[in-house]
């Protein structure tokens, strides 16, 4: 029992990353009808927003500390971040410590801007081209973004720790009345899962309860009619592209403490996210979330020792296997609508 709960928890944090990326992909596909292979790169850019912010915050100047001596007896030179000078030592240190959550504020405008520029500058010209061309041009864009990041940040993983308060694990088993020590789970992963759920909820609420969201939903259903009503649907879809980029970026920001970012992390997630979108059903937002979480949990169950002993290697292939089975038995995916991307 404790094993099962642990695996579900394990699956949920990775699954929520899949779900967030797949949500963005589906938003873009549902609104603009574009298959965006650069979405993984947006996830990666989000992660590097966190890296950038923590670097900006730790920009330091050197001061001579008279109270300490180095081994030669001279006064010690200490690097003091500027934020310490501005906000005082305790607040400054706290800001640096909380750089990853703070990056959320930093990443939202940056990612929306990147998304809007991408849509207006490049993808706009590909609406009338075949899907294969869209896949290819965004694939090229992903390579370019990836290489730019690699040039500035290097090819190695950059550790970006979570705030001190969230480092370590807590006893999840004791919380739900099981033996203490049976389920130990890192704080940050729970935070990630909750964050993902809040973000998903926010996107759905935005689409469901605002006028803007209503127009967007109407445009997803019938773009032409909405346009005929005198609404500039293209501009709203551009904004949705920006929001989708921001969702991917935030998924990346919060994922940095779990997995130190490197320049090709986006590609690794992209392949699986596409599988998630297809399993969930092209164009279905709830389907993307459901499929993301289900596949994440499935993956973590498949990496249990007992399962691997029984079916060696299953942990590597279970997602793809599930995708193949679902595509062949339910061609529209779990919750796909009729008439979307059918041949």
């Amino acid at each position: 029992m404790d094993q099962i709960i642990l695996q579900i928890l394990n699956g949920l944090d990775k699954g929520s990353a899949y779900a967030l990326i797949a949500l963005g992909l589906t938003l873009i596909f549902g609104t603009l009808g574009v298959v965006n292979f650069a979405h993984g790169a947006l996830f990666m850019l989000g992660a590097f927003c966190a890296v950038t912010l923590s670097r900006i915050l730790t920009i330091s100047h050197t001061v001579i500390d008279e109270t300490k001596k180095d081994f030669l007896g001279n006064p010690l030179k200490v690097d003091v971040p500027y934020v310490n000078g501005w906000f005082g030592e305790t607040t400054g240190q706290a800001i640096i410590d909380w750089s990853v959550p703070l990056s959320i504020l930093f990443a939202i405008p940056v990612m929306i801007a990147i998304g809007v520029i991408m849509e207006r500058g490049l993808i706009k010209h590909f609406y009338k081209r075949p899907h294969a061309d869209q896949i290819l041009v965004t694939f090229g864009l992903a390579i370019v973004l990836q290489e730019i990041v690699k040039y500035y940040y290097g090819a190695n993983q950059i550790p970006t720790p979570a705030p001190e308060a969230f480092i370590g694990s807590f006893d999840f088993g004791a919380l739900i009345g099981m033996d203490p020590g049976s389920i130990i789970y890192p704080y940050w992963r729970i935070v990630y899962f909750c964050f993902a759920m809040v973000l998903i909820g926010a996107v759905f609420a935005f689409l469901q309860f605002t006028t803007f969201g209503m127009v967007v939903r109407a445009g997803m259903a019938d773009r032409e009619t909405v346009g005929l009503l005198g609404i500039n649907i293209d501009r709203r879809f551009t904004v949705m592209f920006g929001i989708a980029a921001a969702v991917a970026g935030l998924a990346g920001v919060m994922y940095t403490p779990i997995n130190p970012p490197n320049y090709h992390m986006g590609m690794d997630f992209l392949v699986i996210s596409f599988v998630v979108v297809v399993v969930g059903g092209m164009g279905s937002l709830p389907g993307a979330i459901l499929a993301g979480l289900v596949l994440g949990v499935l993956e973590s169950f498949a990496s249990m020792r007992q399962v691997i002993e029984f079916l060696p290697g299953i942990n590597q292939v279970v997602i793809y296997l599930a995708a193949i089975i679902i595509l062949l038995t339910r061609p529209r995916g779990l919750m796909g609508r009729k008439g979307v991307m059918e041949e």
Partner: protein, 395 residues
């Protein structure tokens, strides 16, 4: 000639001449000159030109003719490589069985994957092939280690049985050969500062490449090829006329997979080592890049694209900042640093950036790739002479 039209025959002959003389004109700069590092006429790279040319020709038969974008073609290359190494290990060090068996194995593998993947089309087909390729990669790197050598890769060893060759004489691992002609053997000719290397392995792959190029031309011109094009332009209409397109697609997919397997077999024939990373989806992406850069659906395009990318990968990536400073040393100091700073991200280790930009440029402005570029240039040159320029679609 050989059942080809005059135009195709001249294309084939041109390619044959180019392949035969490649060691000479790929080394345009004398050996000790400053530009000699742009020479591409060394055996290893030339072999890659033709082998990836075969791979791209095969991919183009699928994508160019039917429009089905497979993102998992490297799985067949990998399967072919493994089969080839096993032949070299078990049967004989002669490359012929290795190449044949790798083609056959990749074909069987393609039947299996194609039968399932081809039930869907469009993006779903791309995702299915991608999923299969990633599965093969993951399995080859982990569970199938006894067969594939896992992450270290599979290679020939001293104590391999090699039934047909008999016992191992001497203490060296035998090199793959073609009835005694070792693939690594080269004839070096030095002529007034130029050094030309005529490599046995290159010519073996080159001849096989010409044969597969010929077969590709025949497929393009055959009723079968016309049927595949019909699938690309409107599959639904074909279905409505009562035609079952599935067998045609499967045949096309298998042929394409066999080309990839052939390329894999040749790769291990040149260098008997096969690793799992050959199956990774980035490798599949590479052949997509090659085909698109050269020109989708054209005969010669994929070969050009393969050559271009491999040239970039091997030559451009070697340029470092010292060399750049040397080249631009004629500029004033500040300007020199400035120019080098601007150019540096695009070359050397950053050549992928150039590749990505080039690829995007081709998709945006030149959907027909390099071949279309050539056609446009030649058309604009001949426009003045001949106003009634023929507007044939890219072939």
């Amino acid at each position: 000639m050989l059942g080809l039209s005059k135009k195709d025959a001249s294309l084939l002959i041109t390619v044959a001449v180019l392949v035969a003389l490649a060691p000479i004109f790929l080394n345009p700069f004398p050996e000790n000159s400053a530009l000699s590092q742009f020479n591409a006429g060394y055996p290893d790279l030339m072999q890659r030109f033709v082998i990836f040319g075969i791979f791209a020709i095969g991919f183009n038969i699928l994508f160019g003719l039917t429009g089905y974008l497979s993102f998992g073609h490297a799985a067949f290359l990998g399967a072919g490589s493994y089969a080839g190494v096993w032949m070299l290990k078990l049967l004989t060090i002669n490359v012929i069985p290795a190449i044949l068996i790798s083609t056959v194995v990749a074909g069987l593998f393609a039947i299996l994957i194609g039968y399932i993947s081809l039930r869907r089309s469009g993006i779903y087909f791309s995702i299915l092939t991608l999923a299969f390729a990633q599965m093969s990669f993951a399995l080859a790197a982990s569970v199938l280690t006894p067969i594939t050598g896992g992450e270290t890769g599979l290679q020939t060893a001293l104590n391999d049985p090699r039934i047909l060759d008999g016992a191992n004489e001497g203490g060296n691992i035998p090199a793959p050969n073609f009835f005694g002609l070792e693939m690594g053997d080269s004839l070096q000719v030095s002529f007034a500062g130029w050094l030309w290397t005529f490599n046995a392995g290159y010519y073996v792959s080159g001849i096989i490449m010409l044969i597969s190029f010929y077969v590709a031309i025949r497929i393009f011109r055959s009723p079968f090829g016309i049927m595949l094009r019909a699938i690309k332009s409107n599959q639904q209409r074909l279905n409505y006329t009562g035609l079952n397109t599935r067998p045609y697609m499967l045949a096309c997919f298998v042929i394409s997979g066999m080309y990839a397997g052939l390329a894999g077999g040749l790769m291990v024939a040149m260098d008997p080592l096969a690793g799992a990373e050959r199956m990774q989806w980035t490798a599949s992406g590479e052949v997509v890049l090659m085909t698109i850069l050269g020109g989708v659906g054209t005969l010669i395009g994929p070969v050009l694209g393969a050559g271009l990318i491999k040239y970039f990968e091997n030559i451009f990536s070697k340029i470092n900042s010292n060399l750049l400073h040397k080249w631009f040393s004629f500029l004033p100091d500040g300007l020199e640093d400035f120019v080098v700073t601007i150019i540096y991200p695009f070359i050397g280790k950053g050549w992928h950036l150039t590749l990505g930009l080039m690829f995007m440029g081709v998709i945006i402005f030149l959907p027909g790739g390099l071949v279309e570029l050539g056609q446009r240039i030649s058309r604009s040159l001949s426009k003045n002479k001949n106003d009634a320029a023929e507007h044939k679609p890219a072939e």
